[in-house]
């Protein structure tokens, strides 16, 4: 079927429901690309750990005695018990399996096991925890489960450069220096791609985001920040800050210039990160697909350390994007059940202000086919 020139096809409906396709996405996308796994500051001291669900794996992040952050498959090398069961915690000395007490150092090396001295042929590195590649950027620990990861510079940093048009621009927000003012976790009953597609377009903004379009009037025209290169959507003239009611926010972050003031920038880092940049804070989304129809979204609101340390009220600031999130996720959840409808078997269509989403579809398709 030929589409009118105004329209491009979306992915077929089964791409949002089929367990086989979801499995391919888990292995070839989420277990093969760089994934933002944790805020580095959430692992402040040696022995503090977090477990994160990435693709079909549980990944353990832990800060070592040398203060370095490391990531491992959360699997005991002996008989496969899950090493750390809690989502977050702290160990005093070592990481120890609850089953047979195989004991690993914070560097992953096998330190002790019952009768290990009688098995001198067991190499303590070879039978240590299996490591996962880790990079820190923007204050987050990004991990890649692939044996040979794609270039971090090209894929992750490159996504920010492509959108902002300048590799240095994102550094002006000094995100590794910011502190988490609020974190909200959303359990969204929708396929992860519906959430990405939603974030990439603003055709829906005037309909479901009244508060956001009050602050960013150009969003009512339907062109998302992702439509452009280097474009920040301008605040309405009467708006004082990026807040639920347009009231005053906080001081502009130190390294930003007038060019970035009173503007909103957005970056999508495939496959699971959205970065929203405004003058006084950053909203950072991380997505973790759990099932074809379920995605956990962790959203951090990052402010200057001074704002967080002083205990300033971030409610008005958080409320704007929290409401946007709820509006967006409700829309995604509204779409999910129809993905298996026979009328959506061939998918839907993208209007011109959404045509750039086709590039995301090509990105997904080329990886799973």
């Amino acid at each position: 079927m030929t589409l009118p020139a105004s329209l491009l096809a979306t992915l077929p409906g089964d791409h949002y429901t089929d367990p086989g396709i979801f499995g391919l996405e888990q292995s070839r996308i989420f277990e093969s690309h760089w994934i933002a796994a944790a805020r580095s500051a959430d692992l402040p001291t040696p022995g503090v750990f977090r477990t994160v669900h990435i693709g079909r794996e549980s990944i353990l992040l832990v800060r070592g005695r040398d203060n370095g952050l490391r990531a491992f498959f959360n699997v005991c090398r002996h008989r496969g018990a899950k090493l750390c069961v809690a989502e977050a915690g702290e160990v005093r000395r070592n990481l120890q399996c609850l089953y047979h007490a195989w004991t690993y150092g914070l560097d992953g090396k096998l330190v002790a096991a019952p009768n290990l001295t009688k098995m001198p042929d067991i190499d303590r590195v070879e039978y240590g925890l299996v490591g996962v590649h880790l990079r820190e950027w923007l204050g987050y620990a990004w991990v890649c489960l692939a044996d040979e990861p794609p270039s971090f510079e090209d894929t992750v940093m490159g996504a920010a450069t492509t959108r902002l048009g300048d590799p240095e621009l994102i550094n002006r927000w000094e995100m590794d220096e910011l502190a988490v003012g609020r974190r909200i976790t959303y359990d969204v009953k929708a396929n992860w791609k519906l959430i990405v597609e939603n974030f990439m377009e603003c055709y829906h903004c005037a309909t479901i985001h009244p508060e956001l379009t009050d602050v960013l009037p150009e969003f009512a025209d339907g062109y998302a920040a992702q439509y452009y290169v280097g474009h920040g959507a301008e605040f309405a003239s009467e708006v004082r800050g990026f807040t639920i009611d347009g009231s005053e926010g906080f001081a502009k972050l130190a390294q930003l210039t007038q060019d970035q003031d009173r503007r909103y920038y957005a970056v999508t880092v495939n496959p699971q990160v959205f970065i929203n940049l405004v003058p006084d804070h950053v909203i950072f989304h991380r997505m973790y697909p759990m099932a074809p129809d379920r995605t956990i979204v962790e959203c951090d609101w990052l402010y200057s350390k001074e704002v967080v340390a002083a205990g300033k009220d971030v409610t008005h600031s958080v409320e704007l994007f929290h409401r946007v999130n709820e509006q967006d996720f409700e829309a995604c959840e509204r779409c999910q059940p129809a993905m298996s409808s026979r009328v959506y078997a061939r998918g839907g269509v993208l209007v011109p202000t959404e045509h750039h989403i086709a590039a995301f579809h090509e990105w997904v398709t080329s990886r799973i086919s």
């Binding site: 000395r93 007490a101 096991a113 019952p114 290990l116 001295t117």
Partner: protein, 104 residues
């Protein structure tokens, strides 16, 4: 006497396991050398792989603690002591003299 290692190879906070008739662990606790049986009396694990804090070593497996000076358990689950052994440094080399007492 059994030679263990060069004294320079046993820095403060470190331990080394010696394969004697019964394995022995030699510790450098803040500059003082101590030797005890290497094997925890609770379950077979090397105390040389444990955590040294002051004059106490904590077993890496189940956190039993032993006083390096006496060999006495100072923290559960171990109940029986380990033997202590004489340590000597001669011309930059650490030696241990295995204790003749029966294994505890």
């Amino acid at each position: 006497m059994i030679p263990v290692c060069a004294v320079d190879d046993l820095p403060v906070g470190e331990a080394v396991r010696v394969e004697a008739e019964v394995p022995i662990a030699v510790f450098n606790a803040d500059g003082v050398l101590y030797a005890i049986d290497d094997t925890c009396t609770h379950q077979d694990a090397s105390l040389a792989d444990g955590w040294l804090e002051g004059c106490v070593v904590e077993c890496p497996l189940h956190a039993s603690c032993f006083d390096l000076r006496t060999g006495q358990p100072t923290g559960p689950p171990a109940k029986k002591p380990v033997r202590t052994h004489e340590v000597e440094v001669r011309e930059g080399v650490v030696y241990v003299r295995p204790s003749m007492s029966a294994v505890a």
